[in-house]
Symmetry: C2
Subunit: 335 residues, 2 copies
DNA sequence: CTGAAAGCGCTAACAT
DNA sequence: ATGTTAGCGCTTTCAG
């Protein structure tokens, strides 16, 4: 399976009877190559099985078509959706994501930024976990199109695409209050590491506070969010709570779906005995027998928009520095 | 955003008072650099904010730490899991995945292989959708560690990691027969494009056939699998079927969970009135009020093992050419 | 342990 | 429309 030395530009040039630079131009689709030579070059390249070496190309000054992408996690389907949106758009434009997962660890995140920048990518997209000083400095000095995604609660270094996580929490609080709920509980996963989940909770509580309300019960489990965690967590929350809540606000839809399953298996009527609300607008929540009350985040759109920001900047177009893609309340039936 | 030229090796060398090659060695952690010079070099590099240029490094003969990864889809959580496993292992070893999504399109897949190879990655991992002749030729001639993942039903070009999809379908058929079911129906998503789903169906039917049985109803929907599709599809299948089946075998867990939801909302008792079986062993299925009967695929393990194959090969270790990670029947409660 | 020389394979910038 | 000349920034020889 080894074909040892790969053919180079100069071999193609020799075979086609033209200069290297002409081959280079032809293969990159430059306008200033005659149809005749283009054909000759293509034939030579094909017959040799020539494959461009973009390492050399990028080093010599040609632009890279790689975009560094740093995400905090990939177990959460939310980031898979974002990555999906990114990939689709990048691929359409002939670009490729180079992936790093920080695992919500600032040190690992810094290391990833450093490592990925050594490849001199054309751009960088990051869903920041928690940027260290060094991370910040690296990004500021990188001199490439840079998009911070997921939340618009802080000011981006270069460009930002996302939504207000705090606002989403607040919006759900308003909604639940308007629906007449008063005894509100919160059930969340690891919000120390997931600061966007923490921001939603903060927004939720702040709005409760303004209405003279407060959480009647709250439980935060030091683990990654999952359906199983939501299910088990709700059992725990209900057994520990001093009073039975009207509604439980979950840190996200995975957790909330788990809550719904707990209620199903315990015969707790939703929403009459207990209402349930989540966040993200995952497909699973909307396919439940009773669709989940939640707030849809536009995850794939965030990925696509982030890719567009990079691509626009690379082609010299003007780009908004901050794109707030908002969110959409889904009343559902569980609250 | 700074656009200044980045500091180069020679500037670090000048500042540290040594030669370029010494800086190069020091920064790559070569053993043959004295502690004293190592310190000088590190100080100089830090003070200049030096970042290696791996483009140049890889071109000059240093190995790349990029691994091309080609998947058919990212909307399916299965591939997100695989990618997650891959990423974790690669990152531990200081490698990065460069991603391509073929969208189950052989042409796009070929294009991706070609494009990603131009970066001269250290290895390539692919969950093949359907390799064209040209794709095959590219992979054979690439001369790099290559892993084909997901199924072991065909012989890999270089290395393979996965499980027998056909075997999984067959295994479930045996299980359902043993449980006493006879009127079996199948509900699937787009099996023209997803040939692994097709292989499971084939294995299932073949085993039914050997037992003198056949599908009493079958529906294949020309769409991507989803919970909603499973839910809606089951409604359609049941309304169209000439006889009520004992059990429905779904193309995967997403679909099967949708089926369970349909039953819940229609008051169909599971498994007494209708049994349900899936494939993948997704967390969501196991968190249902009644856990789903399914076969767990070891997705994250496939990703990790594939990464290990690449890494082992790169470090000269011997590597199995085919790793069958098998699968695990989960009896669950829905069948 | 350290260094000098010689490219890696390509493309920008000028030529013509 | 095509060619010539210089590197890009690093690492591989081979020396000491």
């Amino acid at each position: 399976m080894q074909r040892d030395k790969k053919p180079t530009l100069s071999e193609v040039a020799k075979l086609a009877g033209v200069s290297e630079i002409t081959v280079s131009r032809a293969l990159r689709g430059s306008a200033s190559v005659s149809g005749k030579t283009l054909l000759k070059v293509e034939k030579a390249a094909t017959s040799l099985g020539y494959l461009r070496n973009r390492l050399a190309g990028a080093l010599a000054g040609g632009a890279s078509n790689q975009v560094a992408v740093i995400l905090p996690s990939l177990s959460n389907s939310v980031f898979a959706d974002v990555l999906n949106g990114l990939e689709v758009r990048l691929e359409q434009a002939g670009f490729h994501p180079v992936l790093g997962v920080s695992n919500y660890d600032p040190q690992q995140e810094e290391q990833l930024i450093r490592n990925l920048l050594t490849w001199r990518p054309a751009g960088l997209v990051i869903a920041p976990s928690d940027l260290t000083k060094a991370s910040h400095a690296l990004l500021e000095g990188a001199g490439l199109p840079l998009v911070e995604i997921m939340d618009t609660d802080t000011t981006p270094i270069d460009m930002g695409v996302g939504m207000s996580q705090r606002g989403a929490g607040s919006r759900m609080a308003h909604h639940l209050i308007a629906r007449g709920y008063r005894r509100m509980a919160y059930l969340g996963h690891d919000i120390v590491r997931d600061r966007r989940a923490a921001a939603r909770r903060d927004g939720f509580c702040a709005t409760l506070g303004k209405a003279g309300l407060a959480l009647c019960a709250s439980l935060t489990l030091p683990a990654q969010s999952s359906v199983a965690l939501g299910r088990q967590g709700l059992a725990q929350l209900l057994s520990e709570a001093s009073e039975w809540p009207d509604v439980v606000y979950f840190s996200n839809d995975d957790m909330a779906v788990g809550g719904v399953f707990h209620c199903m298996s315990q015969g707790i009527a939703v929403p009459d005995s207990l209402a349930i609300a989540g966040f993200n607008g995952l497909e699973i929540g909307q396919s439940l027998p009773v669709p989940l009350a939640t707030i849809a985040s536009h995850r794939t759109a965030i990925g696509k928009t982030a890719a567009d920001c990079i691509l626009d900047r690379l082609s010299g177009r003007h780009t908004e520095t901050l794109a707030d893609l908002g969110f959409t309340l889904i009343a559902g039936g569980t609250a």
